[in-house]
């Protein structure tokens, strides 16, 4: 739908303000940055998944005419920098000292005049390794004979990281004992995947020895948090560190952690006195940076014969790789997985999550997971379908029967979440209407009679996003409340400074639209400043769909403060009491005398002029706010997927995908739809082709885009979107956030469709990714009824 004619002042479809530079190739990404005298860094990485380092010989590399420095773990050790804290209160090696613990781990860092020479110099470093036994299967990580990976940690004698639980175990057991039907799943893994943004991670570090100032351009979704952590870790004064996120070519959670390459480029800049650029290649990105998922789940669902779901229990083994570098609020080592009760009204629920180390890359929280909501939604939506299959009830009907009802909101789940608002039935029925559900069922019956295999799958997900109240939610001790600052210039234009960091979500447009909605200033007149920690207020960054719920709220609050201040200035300008003024978008006017008013632009000028201001009112027209969310927000959606499967080859074709999302109030529907389209493509990829796989020796088998497959234009259908709007009652503009919804909701819809298609073969489950080989094997191994 074209947007050429729409220029809303406030919410609505409008073209993006950031586009002009991107369509001209004038984006400014990290690798575009060039500073005088800049050097290039490259990391040498371990080819082995687990080995003792016997020796590192850098002499040949140091003799290369273009090499300026070579840094090893030993060099960093002297400065206490060989290890750094992770966002999960663990530690991670910056450069390996005693051992390497995953294939791809950083072992040395060269700095050279150009990046071709840096790459050449890597081959001149000679490392001798003494291989150790490897464990890659999280189910085996706690076997008595498993090698201990984190022997660097005092008191660590196995590969156990944490145990966590939520819900009421006794109550769950009582319900399971009492219910008519209990369906126990086999293992349902959510495979290790990787967000794979098109731009890899990188940084340019520029340390000025005279001023003591470090400027760091970096692919970071959380510039302020990074700045504070660098200050704590590197001992540099925080006011002397400036982190700048320029344009970022996609993040999807991959750009939240601090990576060793960033730290090494900082150290290298300090050591050489020159700017140092480090940008990883794609293999490094896929094999060493923050992966996503890798949960092995086993659940049971209890219901009565009539289809009333009564209880849900899940036990999870969580693979965190060699270092627990996952980024989630500290009180929740399993993220928000305990939202696995989904969209259903249950009597009881209980989950356990056991985190373990393996000889694989560190991470776990990424790829639009909303802090493990992706895993939770996949699990519950598969289990509801398994139950539907067991009870021989239509899966849509089973869901409708068990949804939390609209009149039950706000609804507190059995694991402690208070969902803010929802009308699930309306959204579900809208998806069924757009899909033509009854017609699809008829078509499926006809095709089955002809030996053609079509599947209809659905998912209904509820997310918990917008972290979060600072008392409950912090990362590395930094509370997840975000600031915003708004300043109006004398000529009525505005600059908004926000804490969050777009990687394509369109903040330069949508946040201007929030100000426009509150103040009536056209979005073109609002400059949105983001990404530079010297220019913007503190916040925890963009991930977990939190920009609109948290920073969007801060923006609304700060705009309202400006509006309130403008009222006081208007009362002085118009010589009436403030209570005698009324607001219409863009101006304060005298009640009963609408001709007599002042536009916001006039008030901006007046605030900078010679007008005598009321007692206690300072000049200028600006405000700041820090928004501490009272709760998270709960966007939801109903997705329906139609697939056709060729039983002779196992190929799955996604024919249609219907997505009806409810993310509350939509600031810019065009931007919202784009977020959904992108997330749906990711989900189809996860369901059908993506997997970061390893062999028994810990060799990564998916270290390039030849084997880590992401969807092209040929593998995706024409997305069909619908919407319902159920505002969040606690959010200032009623918005809930939507950035991750489509990645949360689509994999279960696709897999449910695949399993549905294969039902005639007696297939009840297919693991992701449902590659042609897997689908074919499922057909061979199915147990026909």
């Amino acid at each position: 739908m074209a947007v050429a004619d729409e220029r809303p002042i406030g919410f609505g479809r409008m073209k993006r303000k950031e586009d002009p530079r991107f369509i001209r190739g004038q984006g400014n990404y990290v690798d575009d940055i060039r500073l005088p005298g800049m050097l290039y860094g490259a990391a040498l990485r371990s080819p082995l998944a687990h080995a003792r380092i016997v020796s590192i010989d850098t002499s040949a590399a140091l003799q290369h005419p273009k090499v300026r420095a070579v840094i090893t773990g030993k060099d960093l050790e002297g400065h206490g920098l060989a290890w750094m804290p992770t966002l999960s209160a663990d530690t991670q090696a910056v450069l390996a000292t005693d051992k390497v613990r995953f294939q791809g781990q950083e072992v040395a860092f060269v700095v050279a005049d150009d990046h071709y020479a840096a790459r050449d110099a890597l081959e001149l470093i000679d490392v001798e390794y003494d291989p150790l036994p490897v464990v890659v299967d999280p189910r085996k990580a706690l076997d008595p004979d498993a090698p201990v990976i984190r022997d660097d940690k005092e008191g660590q004698t196995d590969n156990h990281i944490f145990d966590w639980q939520a819900g009421d175990e006794a109550e769950a057991e009582r319900v399971f004992a009492d219910a008519d039907v209990v369906v126990v799943t086999q293992e349902i893994p959510y495979q290790r995947v990787h967000p794979c943004p098109l731009e890899t991670c990188g940084a340019v570090a520029d340390y000025d020895g005279v001023t003591g100032k470090l400027r760091l351009w970096c692919t970071t979704q959380a510039p302020h948090a990074h700045r504070t952590l660098y200050a704590l870790v590197a001992g540099l004064p925080e006011h002397k560190i400036q982190v700048i996120a320029p344009d970022i070519g996609g993040g999807f959670g991959n750009k939240v952690p601090i990576y060793p390459g960033y730290v090494c480029s900082i150290v290298a800049s300090i050591a050489t006195g020159k700017p140092v650029k480090w940008v990883e290649d794609r293999t490094e990105n896929l094999t060493s940076t923050g992966f996503a998922r890798d949960y092995v789940m086993r659940g049971k669902i209890a219901a009565d014969r009539d289809g009333k779901i009564r209880g849900l229990r899940v036990d999870v083994i969580a693979d965190h790789g060699a270092f627990n570098a996952a980024a989630q609020p500290t009180k929740y080592p399993a993220g928000f997985f305990h939202v696995f009760t989904g969209s259903y009204d249950l009597e009881a629920a209980y989950c356990t999550v056991r985190g373990v180390y393996t000889n694989k890359a560190p991470g776990g929280i990424a790829y639009r997971c909303s802090f493990r909501v992706t895993e939770a939604a996949y699990l519950v939506e598969r289990m509801v379908d398994l139950l539907a299959d067991e009870l021989e009830i239509d899966p849509a009907e089973l869901r409708l029967k068990n949804f939390i009802r609209a009149d039950q909101f706000p609804y507190t789940t059995k694991t402690g979440w208070t969902y803010d608002s929802g009308d699930y039935e309306t959204t579900m029925r809208e998806a069924m209407r757009i899909a033509g559900y009854e017609e699809l069922l008829r078509e499926q019956a006809e095709k089955r009679a002809r030996g053609e295999y079509m599947g209809i799958g659905m998912s209904f997900f509820t997310e918990t996003v917008g972290a979060g109240p600072r008392a409950m939610m912090d990362i590395a001790g930094l509370g997840m409340a975000d600031g915003a600052e708004l300043r109006l210039h004398p000529t009525g234009k505005a600059v908004l400074r926000i804490s969050v960091e777009t990687q394509g979500q369109g903040h330069e447009t949508t946040f201007a639209q929030i100000v426009a909605e509150e103040l009536g200033i056209p979005p073109e007149d609002v400059e949105v400043v983001h990404g530079d920690t010297d220019q913007t207020p503190f916040g925890l960054g963009t991930y977990g769909s939190r920009s609109t719920p948290v920073s969007g709220a801060a923006t609304a609050m700060v705009a309202r403060k400006v509006r309130d201040k403008a009222r006081l200035i208007a009362s002085a300008a118009l010589e009436v009491a403030p209570d005698d003024l009324e607001w219409e978008k863009g101006r304060w006017f005298v009640k009963g005398d609408p001709e007599k008013g002042q536009t916001i632009q006039e008030l901006a000028l007046a605030s900078h002029g010679s007008l005598e201001l009321p007692e206690g009112v300072e000049g200028h027209l600006d405000a700041e706010a820090v928004y501490n969310p009272p709760n998270l927000t709960y966007p939801y959606g109903a997705y329906i997927c139609v697939v056709d499967i060729d039983p002779g080859t196992g190929e799955v074709k996604v024919r249609r995908f219907v997505a009806v999302d409810d993310c509350g109030v939509r600031i810019n529907p065009m931007v919202v739809e784009g977020q959904i389209h992108g997330g749906l493509a990711e989900g189809v990829g996860i369901a059908l082709m993506q997997h970061v796989a390893f062999d028994e020796q810990g060799n990564c088998l998916s270290g390039s885009l030849m084997d880590y497959l992401v969807p092209s234009s040929m593998e995706v259908p024409d997305w069909e979107l619908g919407e319902t709007v159920t505002p969040s009652p606690h959010h200032p503009i009623g918005a809930k956030g939507v950035g991750e919804s489509a990645n949360v909701g689509s994999p279960p819809a696709v897999i449910n469709a695949v399993v549905d298609a294969l039902a005639p073969f007696g297939v009840r489950h297919v693991d992701m990714p449902a590659t042609p080989a897997r689908v074919w094997a499922a057909i061979q191994g199915g147990t026909p009824r």
């Binding site: 080859t649 196992g650 796989a693 084997d707």
Partner: protein, 290 residues
């Protein structure tokens, strides 16, 4: 991004010059045309030639598709895209367009050449199977002159061909025969991926019986692509579903797939059978319509 190790570079302005350079520079010299087989390997440093001889200047001389003397002749420097778009080829050998539509992706096809693909001899490469099914021959030129080899002799194993030192492939020739039909079937995980398995089939009829057949598979046998047993099983009989099934079973027996990221060996062997059957069916339809 990963980048190649250093090398010397020269451009050849004639075939003779290219051959002379190969002879002078020895085994550490490689020809580069489209570069989409060689350069990716060089970037990963799996190949580190000391000298690259760029033969793109020979495109005028070696980039052509023409009918000549009862054959279709394709110059070695003909780009995949031109092969895909050629109506001459599509009319005579629909297997070629079937295959090219699924080789790599459009930007790669704009540069990659048939010569580069055949000489790289990746076991999953498609044109080798296509040429083998069509009974094509390869024309190799050396300092001493030209020699012509059949595809079975040309393709000697993974990444090994009959092209010797100081020689280059210059042309592929496909004989024209009446009443033929051909087709290619390929299964892959995603657009642009190599085949999990692929099968090419060509049939020629005389009246109602099959007089000649070519069946060649890709990605399921490191050593060779043709299944002569499968071909022979069809000769002298009319094309039929039972015949296709029997030939497909033989082709599946003759292949030797390796289990890997794309799938286990039993699945690939199944695909060999399934795709051979489908390719034969479509080839027969086209032969009957011709």
């Amino acid at each position: 991004m990963q980048v190649p190790a250093p090398f010397d570079y020269a451009r050849a302005s004639s075939i003779d010059e290219a051959l002379a350079m190969l002879e002078r520079l020895g085994p550490e010299a490689r020809l580069v045309a489209g570069g989409h087989s060689l350069l990716p390997m060089m970037k990963l440093r799996l190949a580190t030639p000391e000298h690259l001889i760029d033969i793109n200047p020979l495109e005028a001389e070696l980039g052509y598709i023409r009918e000549d003397d009862g054959e279709i002749r394709i110059g070695a420097l003909t780009r995949h895209r031109d092969i895909l778009e050629s109506e001459l080829l599509a009319r005579h050998f629909p297997i070629i367009r079937d295959a090219e539509e699924k080789i790599a992706d459009p930007p790669v096809r704009n540069r990659g050449t048939i010569g580069g693909a055949l000489c790289q001899a990746d076991p999953s490469e498609d044109l080798n199977a296509v040429c083998a099914a069509l009974g094509a021959v390869a024309v190799i030129q050396g300092r001493a002159g030209e020699r012509v080899v059949g595809m079975t002799e040309f393709h000697q194993g993974p990444y090994e061909t009959a092209v010797g030192d100081a020689e280059m492939l210059v042309e592929v020739r496909i004989p024209l025969r009446a009443h033929g039909g051909s087709a290619y079937e390929k299964v892959k995980r995603r657009a642009g991926d190599w085949a999990i398995a692929a099968a090419g089939a060509a049939l020629w009829l005389d009246g109602s019986n099959v007089t000649a057949a070519g069946i060649a598979l890709s990605a399921v046998n490191p050593r060779g692509v043709r299944s002569t047993r499968a071909e022979e099983s069809l000769i002298g009989r009319p094309p039929s579903e039972d015949g296709f099934a029997a030939a497909a079973a033989l082709a599946a027996e003759d292949c030797d797939p390796i289990g890997d990221q794309r799938g286990p060996a039993d699945y690939k062997r199944h695909l060999a059978r399934e795709l051979t059957h489908r390719a034969l069916r479509r080839a027969a339809e086209r032969a009957l319509a011709s």
